[in-house]
Symmetry: C2
Subunit: 166 residues, 2 copies
């Protein structure tokens, strides 16, 4: 794990050993046709994904829940792209690095974060580490209460199943 | 000017021809010992500057006004560094790309922005373009009312004078 500016009081970490090479995990994260198959833990679905894979580029997902009206739009901006090694994006900025107006009102219930995915080749696969950085302890607590650990775990299982199937 | 995601309703642009080579302007922006000489329009002063010149790294300035108690801390994170060509940083993120908690409360009077400095070599010097991207029209209006055009103009004159003197 890259510990740069890691803060245990503000960040959440998810770490697993994955039986896929870093290249396959990178593809799963960076190609919309893969993202829709795994990004949202079932029974939620990712119905749309757009990716402009360059620093400052767009990462957009549309997510749909099992109940009518359960819909969520995720929009982010890539910050660092080291093919097969590190992918960093944030929802605090829109494409072109514009500050995201969604967070102008802190009472809207949503919170900004930066996600850093680290891929390290190991025997038999990849050490997969996600570090999610929040702006404050409240954001971290909210994300943890939403089921961060379980959600990322389920999504990663879906990623593995999908990439092993294709 | 790089027009990627430029939006005239949200952004402010400052453009000048400068009688310095791009290398000198780059040095003025990226070396603390230069920054303190020009970054804040007089009679304000930049009393401190720390720079960790890498993507995700810190850009920190301390500014002091002529009246007692007039003090302002600027903190930002570098997003893109193309030596002698383009420098992008934002105050919406802290170093390590962490969302900046200062903007959790929109009533605090401050506003997030991303500054993109473009340097293009021309005969006799550099075309210097600063594009400052805001999250909403209110942020743009507030920045304009603070004297964006005059402030960036005065700072650039100070930059030129300082780099011509050394």
């Amino acid at each position: 794990m890259n510990n740069a500016q890691f803060d245990a009081t503000l960040d959440l970490v998810f770490e697993r050993e994955v039986p896929l090479p870093p290249e396959a995990i990178w593809a799963a994260w960076t190609q919309p046709e893969h993202v829709v198959h795994w990004f949202t833990p079932a029974p939620w679905q990712t119905t749309e994904c757009q990716i402009d894979l360059r620093v400052g580029g767009l990462f957009h997902t549309e997510m749909k829940g099992p109940e009518p009206g359960q819909q969520f739009s995720g929009i982010g901006c890539y910050l660092e792209l080291l093919p097969h090694r590190r992918l960093v994006w944030t929802n605090a900025l829109l494409p072109g690095f514009r500050p995201n107006p969604s967070f102008a009102d802190s009472s809207c219930g949503d919170f900004p974060f930066t996600a850093q995915i680290e891929l390290e080749p190991i025997a038999g696969g990849t050490r997969y580490t996600a570090i999610v950085k929040h702006r404050d302890a409240a954001g971290r607590a909210q994300h943890a209460a939403m089921g961060f650990e379980e959600g990322w775990g389920k999504a990663l299982e879906q990623l593995i199943a999908h990439m092993q199937r294709i």
